[in-house]
Symmetry: C2
Subunit: 108 residues, 2 copies
């Protein structure tokens, strides 16, 4: 069945100190609308799920396989499954959309 979600009606999930997400899931994909407080850190980690992301607002340092970029505007990124990555909110914080395939069962 199809779905519509207003983020205002989705419970916040705390991913790390200063990092929260609102989750919406399809069948093959899951969306995670992530808010990072200024300087908040998502430590280096990996998961078997493929991840693609879109900057929604603010700036964020994003590191994939040791390559770090400062992302802003509507920049996008791709993290293949199993590849290490990390993030840090910029001085004004950030909002980014992360998409996972398959959905991350631990986020449901």
């Amino acid at each position: 069945m199809h779905g519509f979600w207003n983020p205002e009606n989705i419970a916040l999930k705390v991913l790390a100190p200063g990092v929260t997400a609102k989750i919406a899931s399809g069948e093959k994909m899951m969306f995670s609308l992530v808010t990072l407080a200024p300087d908040a850190v998502v430590p280096t980690h990996s998961h078997p799920h493929e991840q693609m992301g879109l900057m929604v607002s603010g700036t964020m340092m994003f590191t994939i396989e040791g390559e770090t970029r400062v992302l802003s505007g509507n920049e996008m990124y791709f993290v293949p499954g199993g590849v290490s990555h990390a993030a840090k909110g910029g001085p004004g914080g950030a909002v980014a959309l992360d998409a996972f395939s398959p959905p991350r069962e631990e986020y449901r």
Copy 2:
């Protein structure tokens, strides 16, 4: 291999009159950053690929299986594979991110 994309460096793809997209693809997912001019229409269609979307700015009328919502803010939507859907830009137009799984080969 991982990837970073700045939309300013991605060629515009015309999807319909007044509807353009910038495409970035992973392996299991493809992102399509879509801009709809005011009142521009994506006619009703379907594809076997699962689709999830996020409003980035503006407003858009989005119809899935005959259910129409006016989307704004960072509202999200899910279109299962094979399900008919359509879109129309609001009076100020819209930007939305569409994610597809698997990637749509005709968009590469």
